[in-house]
């Protein structure tokens, strides 16, 4: 069986940049839900852009259902909440829902029901740029999980989303019958997704995998610990991820940036 997503040695470097944004990223996904946690600027969104065919791949491979992403066509099962993919035409949100339902070979009703469940029917007559930041995020989130996806890529799905909608969308994600990758800089999300796999992203490299259920037991230690689960080579030097002991408990931080500052 083909893996839904298979990334090997991925390197992404933009034209005007000296350093690659991603370098040597490996990730494979089969019937799995994954959270990638990393500080701002670590390359998380660029990883999604590479999977979606929106970033220049200068090394390694990204395969979706066994096909190189550069050759992928008609893979309607891959969806995302990234705002730039919903700018195809300048229309109201409701028209975009109908357009993408058609482009995904799906029905509008499921998405419409979910917008209603999240009390977002009122945004359907507005253009996306007229929505609040939180509404824009929820628009992308609902578009990503509607239309029977097989692989869902969610970039910071809870930024500016109120607590009530966060809780309800987490329930949607838990019951989602699809592989999923969430990228976030927040740790508190992990406590609600305990059966998801966990990776850290630092300086354009991916480290793991761990389990989100291990969150309470994970520690970060400066240097190379003997019993480390993983030793991460970062711009701050070597950092070991250890279980049950170490310098700083991961659970004490709200996000990875704060944790790295403490280390």
């Amino acid at each position: 069986m083909n893996q839904v997503l298979e990334i090997e040695g991925l390197r992404v470097k933009y034209e005007n940049s000296d350093e690659p944004v991603l370098d040597g990223v490996n990730l494979s996904l089969t019937k799995e839900k994954v959270v990638i946690v990393g500080p701002n600027g670590s390359g998380k969104s660029t990883l999604f852009k590479a999977i979606l065919g929106l970033a220049p791949i200068s090394g390694g491979t990204v395969k979706v259902n066994g096909r190189d992403v550069r050759d992928v066509r008609d893979e309607e099962g891959v969806s995302t909440n990234m705002a730039e993919v919903y700018t195809l035409v300048y229309l109201a949100a409701g028209d975009l829902v109908k357009l993408f339902a058609e482009l995904k070979g799906s029905r509008t009703e499921d998405a419409a029901r979910m917008f209603a469940d999240f009390e977002l029917q009122s945004i359907m007559k507005k253009r996306v740029h007229e929505l609040s930041t939180g509404q824009q995020k929820m628009f992308g989130n609902i578009m990503a999980v509607s239309f029977s996806p097989k692989l869902v890529l969610l970039d910071e799905p809870f930024d500016n989303v109120d607590e009530s909608r966060r809780r309800r969308f987490i329930e949607v994600l838990k019951s989602l019958d699809a592989d999923a990758v969430i990228i976030t800089h927040e740790f508190n999300l992990l406590q609600r997704l305990t059966d998801w796999s966990l990776y850290f992203m630092l300086d354009g490299r991916l480290w793991g995998k761990f389990s989100a259920s291990q969150l309470d037991r994970l520690y970060i230690t400066r240097g190379e610990a003997k019993d480390a689960l993983t030793v991460m080579e970062t711009s701050l030097g070597k950092l070991s991820v250890t279980l049950d002991h170490g310098d700083i408990a991961v659970k004490t931080a709200t996000n990875l940036s704060a944790l790295l500052e403490q280390v």
């Binding site: 034209e15 979606l52 065919g53 929106l54 220049p56 992403v69 992928v72 066509r73 008609d74 893979e75 309607e76 099962g77 891959v78 969806s79 995302t80 730039e84 993919v85 919903y86 700018t87 195809l88 035409v89 300048y90 229309l91 028209d95 109908k98 357009l99 993408f100 058609e102 482009l103 995904k104 070979g105």
Partner: protein
Amino acid sequence: MLLKYFAKALLSNKRLWVLGIVQMGGWLCFIAAVGTGGTVIPANLLVPYAGVWYGYIALASLSTLAVTIAGSILYSNASLAYGFRYTKLSPASYLSNMVVSAAVMGVALSATLLVASYAVFSERFGTSLPPVDPAGAVLIAVLGGTFMLAFGMALALVVVNYAGMQSQGFLNFGPSMLAIVLGLSQALVALPTALIYASPFNAIESLLFEAYGNIAPHANLTDITSTSLQWEYLLVTLVAWTVALIALDSMLLRRLKPRSIEEARPM
């Protein structure tokens, strides 16, 4: 039925209506008020005279379609790249739907200005000056809209794929500048016939002029003693440019290399 979404996006674009109709309607009124410069136009040439300025204004209006489409493609380039991989959208279906949408919008712009030209010049000269061949004008508007789509898309895709977003400034004025310079030149002075026959902009203007006034276009549209032009050659020029640009668009869409719109920031 993707067409309804693409057509709706163009037909409901307020900026396009303001640039293509309100602004051009204003110019039409200005030209009607001061255009003759005191020269008395014989009664039998009043309809062709209205046709000269209808041809020019409709050409300028159609060029705003190219500007709008180019800007839209720049903004949506990432969505297109995603759509070609992860939805049923293909470069061919996108292009064909955009061609039909642009043709519809071209007719809407051109037909509105046809009516406006009739009203403005009839009022100016105190006699009814209806277009002789409105159906022909609609047909040329279909071709003109399609050409402007193909031209605007080609410019945008060259910027996205090769030149980089910092070069996008040209797209904001390039098509309209070409339309105004070439169109106004032929309306006022005798351009070289080789240039007119090679230029799709002059082909649109000349053919619209002929549809309104029912006389053969000339190297100088306001001077019937200047070299007369063959409408068949002008039509071939317009169709050939359009077909060539659509083929180029198709190739560039298949090789789309998406860029962040943020690259386009001037500062």
